[in-house]
Symmetry: C2
Subunit: 361 residues, 2 copies
């Protein structure tokens, strides 16, 4: 499927929860499927982008990250639905963010970009859909941060969201995940070249190279490391040294590419927003906040995910099903990859989503 990345400017300023005003907000997005079909909104992960499916050209080494779910006859059937994937507010791939120009100053926002919350990201996605004249969202879906945005939208706009599919998810950000995000932010801001966010954009921040390695360790399970580094190496006196070297190569490989695509200010803004995520924020209790979600929900966490283990999906489902039995379904995805399974275990996901949506025509 050949796709193009598009850009629009919203006709109204966006006002953050804390009252900051973003003028002429831009949104980078892609669109797949039937222009007149029911709308499916795909929300991406924290370090990801709006290129959820297809290829820009035949030379692309890989398609979008959920290409195995988006296409003719697939879970998000392009013969049926109008599928939109937008870059999140604060993201680094074209949407208004620390990287984009502030129309008031004609300089990049940089560290002056206002603090945003996960609720802001959800509201901004809604503003994007409003701009396209879309009121009803048949399904909102996503992995990782995308799943949090999906659940948040279902809670913010319960009458307008028909169903939610959340992969590698939770009802509020777990504290160990918050710790990892603080770690990343600290690594970047402690880099002498960070300069309070006014770093030289023309070359990758040294700390970013290291952060890219760390994320590889954190988001990859031991079983995947075993496949990469241990299974190919037979026992023997040099075996452990070879395994150690294979691990090291996995860690540092292609980091140049990673570093180029990762803007420190955007990463910090995004991770802080993720840390703010708590469905209970605007309610008297957490449970009441979760229960604002009225639509059917499919929650799929990965058995080896250290950041969002299955118990977090179970918790949200239990709260929903206590009030509306059968509203929420959970599935445990089997993966060697840990959190990265949310963009790798597409066959399993496709099957579960097809079943889920079949019941929701």
């Amino acid at each position: 499927m050949k796709v193009t990345s598009r850009q629009i400017v919203l006709s109204r300023p966006f006002i953050t929860e804390r009252g900051a005003r973003l003028h002429q907000p831009e949104v980078a997005f892609e669109e797949y499927g039937r222009a007149s079909g029911p709308v499916v909104l795909i929300a991406h992960g924290g370090l990801s982008n709006h290129h959820a499916a297809g290829r820009y050209s035949d030379e692309d080494p890989a398609p979008g990250w959920w290409d195995g779910l988006i296409g003719p006859g697939l879970a998000f059937d392009t013969d049926r639905y109008r599928i939109l994937a937008a870059n999140a507010l604060g993201g680094m791939f074209g949407t208004t963010s620390p990287r984009t120009l502030d129309p008031a100053t004609h300089e990049r926002y940089g560290p002056r970009f206002p603090d945003i919350t996960l609720v802001d990201i959800a509201r901004f996605a809604r503003a994007f859909l409003d701009e396209l004249g879309i009121e009803m969202i048949h399904v909102v879906a996503g992995p990782s941060m995308g799943s949090l945005v999906a659940l948040q939208m279902a809670a913010l706009y319960p009458e307008d969201v028909g169903a939610v599919v959340a992969v590698a998810t939770a009802g509020r950000m777990p504290p160990s995940g918050m710790a990892m995000h603080h770690l990343i932010c600290n690594a970047l801001s402690m880099d002498p070249q960070f300069r309070d966010g006014w770093y030289d954009e023309s070359r990758p921040l040294p700390a970013m190279r290291w952060v890219a390695q760390m994320m590889r360790v954190y988001y990859t399970h031991d079983r995947a490391f075993h496949r990469i580094a241990c299974a190919p190496v037979a026992d023997g006196p040099e075996a452990q040294q070879q395994r150690s070297e294979a691990v090291r190569r996995f860690l540092v490989g292609d980091f140049q590419l990673d570093a180029r695509d990762r803007d420190p200010n955007c990463l910090i803004a995004t991770l802080r927003a993720i840390n703010s995520y708590d469905l209970g924020r605007h309610s008297a209790t957490y449970e009441e906040g979760v229960a604002r979600i009225q639509c059917p929900a499919l929650l799929m966490n990965i058995d080896t995910d250290g950041e969002f283990p299955p118990e977090h999906a179970e918790e949200v489902a239990a709260i929903l099903n206590a009030r509306r039995p059968g509203q929420a379904s959970t599935r445990v995805l089997r993966s060697d990859w840990g959190h990265l399974g949310c963009v790798r275990e597409l066959a399993q996901m496709n099957q579960h989503i097809v079943s889920f949506l079949r019941g929701r025509q």
Copy 2:
């Protein structure tokens, strides 16, 4: 229990597996209990030291890290045993390491310190005991790296080791753990002030401060973060922000102390040694290598340990019990703390070790 840190110089040079010669090797150690009792050797964790029990003075804020296991009537009963805890080769607390002076040059070894393996650390511990005229080791015990050293010694000297107690352990270093170690080494060596290991010793390396934070995240389970940051905070609009801030404080607190005690070259040498650990290294197969251990073994891993989950203890025990039924016992320690449980869950450990040793009088 009042204790003192002592130092001896070995009467013979130590020769590493790779053939490097360390002259006048020094060993820092502590001794507890009955001078004439059966010998218990305590091996410490990778970032830890030989201060396993007691206090140097009444003003010490805390005792040694296994104080709850070492004392009158405790698992390692000071009324019965002669208990020795030595700083490992390459460690930063007084034993020959990158920090100590090379007698040949009268300068610190620094990055010229030879590469050492986990086998070297085990052999060096043996050389220390030889110097004290000790042949038979009644029990060798330790957490984390100490458990690897303990198992390695039991495999190297099967006739001289009476029993082994290994906490948070494995038969070879898991690849995700190797990845974490590479990460730490990379963070340090990528610091511009590292200068190939010739950093200014008088002040902490900037990257070390950050590495200390990262280790806090990696070795602490989400449940412990929950106790620290979430349980004390009631639901509400500012709750998540307060939790995020509590997590951040835990991450950065007391890092000055951490950084001062952690020498980058020593850390790198130690982590590389740990990565080399593989009981199968000198045997035709891994299983044969593990089976060199002939003594009774108690293997206790922690349910929430991401680095050494219980399956690693089960694997070693299964290999041993296949050849000598009943040789190995495993216990799963329950902890909110993840890997850090290996120095926190002392009550559980004490009970299991007492039972284990009772059968081994």
